[in-house]
Symmetry: C2
Amino acid sequence: MKVIVIGATGTIGSAVVKAIGNRYEVIPVSFSKSLIKVDIADSTSITKMFKTTGRIDAVISVAGLAKFGPMTSLTDADFALGLDNKLMGQVNLVRSGTEHINDNGSITLTSGILSRKPMKGSTAISLVNSALEGFVRAAALEMPRGIRINIVSPNWVIDTLKAFNMDPTIGTPVEVVARAYVQALEGAMNGAVIEAIE
Amino acid sequence: MKVIVIGATGTIGSAVVKAIGNRYEVIPVSFSKSLIKVDIADSTSITKMFKTTGRIDAVISVAGLAKFGPMTSLTDADFALGLDNKLMGQVNLVRSGTEHINDNGSITLTSGILSRKPMKGSTAISLVNSALEGFVRAAALEMPRGIRINIVSPNWVIDTLKAFNMDPTIGTPVEVVARAYVQALEGAMNGAVIEAIE
């Protein structure tokens, strides 16, 4: 299989690349640090990326920005960031990408635990993560040629919690989160929200 | 209580107004058919509406547009309609409205069954409905002065199914759906997704 990993240089993305190992051909893509670059907030950039990669068997997206902060301090632009980037960026990967994916291939997107377990400051992120899960449940009913679509909803990663000076004991090792993407890639599920929590 | 009902002339909205009856003071608002009008996709229009109504105890929103159709035929503008209107329109009712709501008041928004039970053609609507549910779960943690926020996720209304030539036996009477809004108004729940299914 030829697998694009978007966000390949991030905390989770690099763990996904490592978990896939050399069993499949991985094409790493990122906003700035990979040979092939993409700005998922720009649909022209997405189209260009798929032209560069050619036909593939799977797309894994571990990419997307959304803003954390108290609701009263979030601006229109803060909400728009999440809608344009993490939400519609990933939706547009599906809308543009499906035609480039071989029969029986797969797409795996990323939401996050704040969709189901919000915290103070997560309104814009919870909105985006939940939106992605609803989109994937619906899109699974319409995917052509046996192509599957799923979404991983990762728990907080231990390393991320440490970086934010939060309690790391509530987190999940990044290797466990990465395994969920491999399961979505190799499994038979379609329309699933895979909660990557140990 | 002084209660704004936005979308007061729609199928569900008019049933909500009827269910509240004369127990509270209802201020009906709609896009074009009420004395007080609002375009929820326009935040200036929302601000103006709250200036007109003055302080209130509750906001019930049964308003919002989103586009139904096969994912491959939905345009960028079709997705944007749902994001700007049903999604951010209702989010902005919360962002602008909270300061006009008295202590211990409430806000009740509307999502819909397609968030959890999608069908072919519902990608844009399932996205928006799920986004609203995620937003409400998170916003509930940040509401000031005892103000509660909840969301009703109505099943298909029997009359709507009949109008679309769909099987009405899977539907819920509009009076049952309306009751869910009254429960959100009078109850103690906060951050709840109330599934209005008989």
